[in-house]
Symmetry: D2
Subunit: 439 residues, 4 copies
């Protein structure tokens, strides 16, 4: 991923250096396991670790690979350069993918760990803003059209809940990817007994693939990628809301605007929701990655390597992007400038039209058929919408209304507090702490 | 989905009739809940049920919709036609989406139930064939090139394990989608108290959305669709293997070929793996559906309806396809004609080249550096591959080999039983019964 | 495609009946060509046409297919039932795909012809509204934030131009797909000479595939599908704009709202942009189809049939959807209720902030460095934006401004006519008639 | 794109340095145009060029951007640091996107130019191999099953033709993207007259956007990306064929295998088609990019910036990948080791079954109904396929055959030359030189 959209933590995880360190850790874990079952002389792993740990030179490995055209062989050759004779005991009975897939599992798990940390922070930011604006009235909109009142806090609470589901999916994907294999060329343990894998994975905190081929099943990686694409949509949902709130005509919320920041090179008056637009764009990339990952699952026989080039790009890119997006979204939510006064003004914009359902229900309660009540109320609503008077006044002048319900009924129908009387139930559900649990 | 790729069970689930039946069930559950809290006269739901159950006419509803341009209002109008006055108590305080989303959850859950049943059958077929061919030797291939021996049963066992993971994902998605809402226009319970939802959902076996907008979160539906796309890749994996096995030059397996079936209109000798090719194609459609579902999640404010047209197509289509594919794949796996004698012949095709790793490891055990052993063995291997002699003879003639290992060592390296001695460990893991558990 | 999103014209094109009619036309064209070169007795085609034209029974063909499991053989068997002995001369030296692919080209070409007609109508609607609102001032927005003035007509003109590019792509795709093959099982003309193909295609208006396999290259179909996905984005662009215009706070445009139509089952006051939301959703399906089509191109050797199941779904679905979307979009654009008075009100909403660039440029013209001018103007702009006065008054009170430019300069910077003085150039370019030409 | 899949030529095109050079070129072209119409003092552009050309420091620009959070303003500030006072005349009346989009067009055009060069080379390689193997007999396969004879050269000729179509699409996309804009904040030329754009673009070889918003239409970029995804499928088609040819059991072709190259770390005998597998994987990435590009087209009003983050990744990545893939595929095709003797052996593998259609047609010519002839031939074919004798012997022993056609007829049906007698027609069509023309 380009550095503009990478945090250093993730860039390091996917660096050549860290990849080779992880390969080294896997080879040593396998070597130690071999020592334990007596297939390799005691002390071999310790000796190699002593000679090579911290000294792996990724440039040198690349240089060797230009001849061998095989990355793991290049790596092993380099370790032999550093550690000498004992290095010949490494990789015994293993195939390259034993190292590569097991390592990929380890680094992906680390990356998902960072992402889970990032989700936690973003959820905390959402919960904080939810509590803050629990009772800040705002017009609820459907289809972009005013519908009925809600509160600003409910939106933040919703994001908190959605991110809880995203967190659960990523956490599940982390389990699914925490699987390696040390089982040889076609997964039959032909030249390395299952105990080696078991012992090595006990050290590494992994589980063996149930039935491996040369590699671990690629549905696991695809599940990681779809879980990240779904996480992306949760962030996109936040960003899309901010973009709508910040529209000039709406003005209910604004992205934090830094000192010295310039909104536009041409228009000094502009403050644009660029963080949010950026996040909407990046979520498209995550969807694209998921698509490629799904094409990667079905392979020929005991494996073909067509998935590899794809994974070299999409796994680092998608995890790095998610990490970046979470950090950016957390700043966005925490720093979001909320304008309760604009929310109030917008709420009143339609002169009470948004209470039309309440009026209709009052009429239904008097025994009027629903469709008839609907038509009566719609009549005044469309007049008001067309600028032919205030909705409430029109209702008060409509004999079909006044013959059935009292001015006090109408008052109640137009009462904001009445509309919002149940929101505490929702908040309790959303912020109770166990909302990461499905469903 | 076109009828060619639909089973009647799923076609019925997604019929207009079943949709309206389900809407009716949701409206009645809500109505009963309203009765229980005293908001609707006792007996209303029973009266409506008595008048309208089994009499809903989807054509009539469509007719009404052509005027109202609103499906739920058309439905309610029709129920009023059938049930008369009591029908005005239906839908009280509810918004269309309360019915639509709750019903969509119910039907999707039914569809996923069918799919889970289908997965179970396919897994049983795989387990059966796995046991049958547990010890049928076959050459394991990577990159399409002979690698090391394995058994045919291991491939079936692998499919069983992969489908177990697919099953787990679909099952999880079924939980995630078993969520409805009866919470009004913007999810605030403005005109219907939370108890109504709670009581209605107790009847329907659903859980309320944590924080609803006008609708339930669309990440839930997207998770369903990605779980089906992943299921599709597991079926694709099976189909792709069969296609490879059936190649003229390989001939290790063949699709069942019906009486009277014609492989080609031009070529009477052809028997083509058309079921498998078909399944590979259909899995692409599932990936496409997942992509559209991921675009459907982020909506405007408290909802926009852009997701709806997409869902009308992709949710019925993807579930119907999966159900069809599972049935077809089960027939394919059960009826697959396996040719152990061709497997044996192919295994011997390279004159033992596939044992090259074992020979190399014998050399390494004598103290030779791995890279040196590799080069010695590769030398004979490339000669044999180039048709310059049989691999084993070439090794026996190579002093670098014979000076280090005995003819008995070479015998052992070329022993098939030795290669396959650990496969029972894998079978136990794969078929133990709890393999649906992750990871 | 479900009937909700299908027009009868396209449904007919993709019906079984029309498919078999087209197969029949291709078989007869080939048969006539065979007669012409003396390989088939004169009069054979005429005799078969006489017996079977208009009498093909798709249900009977399906019945036969249930035994043969091969659609073309079932078709030929049925023709033999109708036409008797002469029918044995049909399909001579041909393979099923000679018929299928050639027919698919013919029907797809018909479908694209309908779509091109639909684009033409939609472009006319856009051009009409563009002329109508050529001088209707509207605030131009970037990032959802007021930027600088434009006119409503320019947006319609832009759609007209974008659709011109879409039209060009579809037209090009129609040429690319107008390719068939009558070249036998692997495209070598083994049993049918090239003249037969040439003569038959002269009748059908097709061109032979340059190098066929068993089938025509699938990049052609993928190009059709990507051209439709791109057309979808042009329609989505229109729909997205309408949704924004119709927002309660913006109110600059509204979808036509039918007599008796109901916006919401719960809220009688609602008028929702549902046509536009629908179109945004449907464009996602077109993108999904394009993705599946791109997976369909690379096939095994001289062909595998994995593409077929995909095409049975996506080619009818995507063409039917595009046709439907064009008709819907044309109604939407023609009937769109434009509110020039709301446009004017919105334009004035920020008290002239939108003229900030003009003021800045006036300052630059006096010799001030650009960045300095930017800062001076931004100072007043941010105050005005924060509600600390009207922008123009603040400028007039800022000595850094008044020391450099005169009140007359400021007047000119705030002049709408000045801002819009060049739009005729754009209209000429957009509506000149040749705008379908690229770029 | 990661360096593993980048050639230096493309890496340079998408470097920060080249981006800023291109921005500089656009600003100077606009400045010169301003000079020509008298809005900027003569000699300004020359002076700035003299001070800043070749001295732009991308690190310094990044540093400034960290404060301004706006890339173009950072760039202009840096140019002012280098060029002093005259720099204030730059960017007059322009908006950032005037520079960004115009520059993006220029660099994308350069990248597509490289790609078109790469296609040309790959097509030449295909044409060369096509001529070389024009008459090398090979079994044609459909569904992976032997069908009828063809020649190896025909496959190369087909790739040549498919790549010709890909070339045409990329070339068309290059035209479509060669469009810029210098039209201000919402595309109205409010502060910069159309002549400036016209004059500047005459220098840069671009065309103005027909109707711009703040930016150029994103359908143009999406067309570029779909054309590249389609190019990817043409390369994938080549790679997929090689993978099949190289299968151990097939062995008809092999990737070039370098000196010192190692096929597998575990199995010294392996030669894997890793270049081809790699290319298959990379084509998935191009499809993913196209999906993201299609989501990028529909933007809010006169523009939102959500497309930008996506484009920063996918346009460099997709063009760089295509360039890399073309180079790799050219090496693959040129160096491919073809084994005519294995082709011959495979052709004979089924003992003449592949001539079954010819036999059937001979029977039809005697007056037998097609379906009857089919059944007669299929009978012997299935016996032969089941190992119950050689096909030809079985036919010779079948009285339904021998009573109708002579041994000479059978000879002719089994004649390879007869099957391939028309292939020159195809070669002429494929390699005539104008095959880039559609269709």
């Amino acid at each position: 991923m380009i550095s503009r959209y990478s945090r250093p933590e993730l860039a390091r995880l996917w660096s050549d250096e860290h990849r080779y360190e992880t390969w080294f850790a896997v080879e040593l874990a396998a070597c130690e396991a071999m020592e334990e079952i007596g297939r390799v002389p005691c002390g071999t792993a310790a000796s190699i670790r002593g000679s090579a740990q911290g000294k792996l030179d990724s440039k040198r490995i690349d240089e060797i690979e230009r001849t061998t055209r095989h990355d793991v062989i290049a790596f092993l050759t380099h370790v032999e350069e550093l550690a000498g004779e004992p290095a010949r005991w490494l990789h015994l009975g293993m195939t390259s993918s034993d190292v590569l897939d097991t390592s990929l599992a380890l680094v992906t798990r680390e990356a998902l760990g960072e992402i889970l940390g990032g989700i936690k922070k973003l959820r905390e930011a959402c919960a904080g803003r939810a509590r803050e604006h629990r009772h800040t009235p705002m017009i609820g909109r459907s289809h972009g059209i005013h519908a009925e009142p809600t509160t600003a806090g409910l939106t933040f609470a919703r994001w908190h809940a959605e991110l809880g589901r995203a967190e659960h999916r990523v956490d599940e994907a982390r389990q699914v990817i925490s699987v390696g294999k040390i089982a040889g060329a076609v997964g039959t343990y032909a030249n390395v007994p299952p105990e080696v894998e078991a012992r090595a994975f006990a050290k590494l905190g992994l589980v063996p693939e149930t039935v491996a081929t040369q590699i671990v099943g690629r549905d696991r990686h695809a599940q990681v990628m779809t879980s990240l694409a779904l996480l992306g949509t949760a962030i996109e949902q936040i960003a899309l809301a901010v973009r709508h709130w910040q529209r000039t005509e709406v003005g209910e919320g604004e992205e934090p605007f830094g000192k010295g920041q310039k909104g536009s090179s041409a228009m000094p008056h502009k403050k644009n929701p660029i963080l949010s637009e950026n996040l909407c764009g990046l979520s498209r990339l995550l969807r694209a990655h998921a698509g490629a990952a799904l094409e990667n699952v079905a392979l020929w026989h005991e494996r073909d390597i067509s998935h590899s080039s794809v994974e070299r790009v999409i796994i680092p890119d998608a995890t790095t992007l998610c990490d970046f997006m979470l950090a950016r979204a957390t700043g966005l939510v925490s720093g979001l400038v909320v304008h309760p006064e604009r929310m109030k003004a917008n709420l009143e914009l339609t002169g009470g039209l948004v209470f039309s359902e309440s009026v209709m229900l009052k009429l239904v309660e008097t025994g009027l058929p629903r469709q008839r009540a609907y038509e009566i109320v719609q009549r005044s609503a469309l007049l008001a919408h067309g600028g032919k008077g205030r909705f409430r006044d029109l209702l008060a002048a409509d004999q079909d209304v006044t013959s059935r319900i009292s001015p006090r009924d109408i008052d109640q129908a137009f009462d904001l507090g009445h509309h919002l009387r149940h929101i505490d139930v929702i908040f309790e559900r959303a912020l109770a702490g166990n909302e990461g649990n499905l469903p």
